[in-house]
């Protein structure tokens, strides 16, 4: 028992500080990706609903591709593809050196695209759940298109979409573990390093699982509170 406590201690002999730093990278990557993915997802959802055929087709193609590709493959394509693309662009300007993409940035971008694809479906569903009368009433009151979206549609949209978006967030949190494969020092990678140094895979991978589980639980609790708060004006249990 003492042996395991020592392994988790902070300082030179233990891996506690490395794991904590990894957990911090994991949670910050997820938190930074969240707004990017959600907003892009909303844009894609608006594209999918728009009367413009080109925008509609582009939105459908976007969701089909990024919902269909394995997250790991999307990550590799962004990471290696981005590197090659940047190298070519730099080459045009006569800059020939090797370019390394920051793995945090690659993870942010790739996971953001995936989140956008999945959350756009949630947004579209929420749009469909808002009666047309809401927007019509807002327009009849003389609100501009922008204002009626911001003041009337969006608040309802967020309330209706929240449970689905909450699921998207939990999936994102777990998907961040994939960035360990492109050498970002997240929780998973730090765990791999600890396992390599100590030969204690069972213990360390189990600890990593518990940390992810803790984040999931924390998110679940917070999301529940948020849902309650956003739904406070709603009558429940009727009908």
């Amino acid at each position: 028992m003492n042996h395991y406590l020592e392994l988790l201690s902070f300082g030179p002999g233990g891996w506690g500080d490395e794991l904590a730093r990894g957990a911090l990278v994991t949670i910050s990557l997820a938190l930074v990706t969240l707004p990017f993915g959600l907003i892009l997802g909303l844009v894609v959802a608006l594209g999918q609903r728009s009367g413009n055929r080109l925008a509609h087709k582009a939105a459908i193609a976007f969701t089909t591709v990024f919902r269909g590709l394995p997250e790991l493959l999307t990550l590799f394509i962004v990471y290696y593809g981005g590197q090659i693309l940047l190298q070519k662009v730099a080459g045009l300007f006569g800059y020939g050196a090797q370019i390394q993409i920051n793995s945090f940035l690659a993870g942010f971008f790739a996971l953001g695209l995936v989140l956008a694809a999945f959350s756009s479906e949630v947004w579209v569903g929420a749009f469909n759940a808002i009666p047309d009368g809401q927007r019509e009433a807002a327009r009849a009151l003389g609100l501009s298109a922008g204002l009626s979206f911001r003041l009337v549609v969006l608040p309802q949209l967020i309330r209706i979409a929240l449970p689905g978006l909450g699921n998207n967030w939990l999936v994102l949190l777990k998907d961040t573990s994939l960035v360990s494969t492109i050498a970002l020092a997240d929780l998973m990678r730090q765990t791999n390093l600890a396992v390599g140094a100590t030969k204690e895979p069972l213990f360390f991978y189990f600890v990593a699982c518990l940390v992810y589980l803790f984040f999931s639980m924390l998110s679940g609790g917070l999301l529940g509170r948020l849902e309650e708060r956003l739904g406070r004006g709603q009558t429940r249990g009727a009908a």
């Binding site: 089909t64 591709v65 269909g68 590709l69 394995p70 997250e71 790991l72 493959l73 590799f76 394509i77 290696y80 593809g81 090659i84 939990l170 777990k174 998907d175 573990s177 994939l178 360990s180 494969t181 998973m188 765990t191 791999n192 396992v195 030969k199 204690e200 895979p201 069972l202 991978y205 189990f206 990593a208 699982c209 992810y212 589980l213 999931s216 639980m217």
Partner: protein, 236 residues
């Protein structure tokens, strides 16, 4: 014609790795199909335990489902694959080492346990969606509990579960790409191999096309099966 194709696709590379890619497709599909089926079998008792009257059973099933749904599949795969090596002595003693030594079996075991947790929740939702009157009517007709479940409740629960089960199958196909990280040559594994030898980025685009085709084919097959299985519910 060959020249036009050759300017877009590296034909040499295709000739060298094309067959291996097909092998990769077989590995991916096998792994997903077997673990999905075994996971489905395991999911039924877990779903029933989730709905059981016994608090202990409910808590155990809840813990199982929560663990496998709340942690990354990657961490689970590593836990089983690398963790098994640590328990080598114990596995040798009970004769299971040949099983756990093999990355493929470790992946299969992890995937089965993982998808069982997700499918258990799907089945639970399906069972709960069957109106109570259905089982009450079955009991009133004198059917034993067991028969009432198998003949009346489960078939109706499965109809509700069909669509989410299809989604879970597609998620499994995508998630299976991570087995390439424990030395298995599935589609992703072959892609990584081809890239590490050729440094030609287009192999990743081939893989992307392959996965999109796989996912789309499975989605359509599932939708067709769903239409056929629910044809009695269609308004005439």
């Amino acid at each position: 014609m060959t020249e036009i194709i050759g300017s877009v696709i590296n034909l040499d590379l295709m000739a060298r790795y094309g067959p291996r890619f097909l092998d990769g497709v077989v590995v991916t599909l096998q792994l997903v199909a077997i673990s999905f089926l075994l996971g489905g079998l395991l999911a039924v008792p877990v779903a029933l335990a989730r709905l059981s009257k016994s608090g202990v059973l409910r808590a155990l099933a809840y813990g199982y489902v929560y663990f496998f749904r709340g942690t990354p599949l990657l961490a689970q795969v590593f836990l089983v694959y690398y963790g098994a090596g640590q328990l080598r002595g114990a596995f040798e003693a009970v004769g299971l080492w040949t099983f756990f030594r093999d990355a493929w079996f470790c992946a299969l075991l992890t995937f089965t346990l993982n998808t069982a947790a997700y499918q258990a929740e799907i089945f639970r939702g399906g069972i709960q969606a069957v109106p109570r009157g259905q089982s009450e009517a079955a009991f009133a007709l004198g059917l034993p509990r067991w028969v009432a479940y198998v003949k009346v409740v489960f078939p109706q629960a499965l109809v509700t579960a069909l669509r989410p089960l299809g989604n879970e199958l597609i998620l499994m196909i995508k998630a299976s790409a991570i087995v390439s990280l424990i030395t298995i040559y599935d589609v992703m594994g072959v892609t990584r191999l081809a890239f590490s030898r050729s440094f030609d980025f287009q192999v990743y685009l081939w893989a992307a096309a392959l996965y999109l085709i796989l996912v789309e084919a499975v989605r359509r097959l599932w939708a067709a099966a769903e239409r056929r299985l629910t044809r009695h519910l269609k308004p005439v």
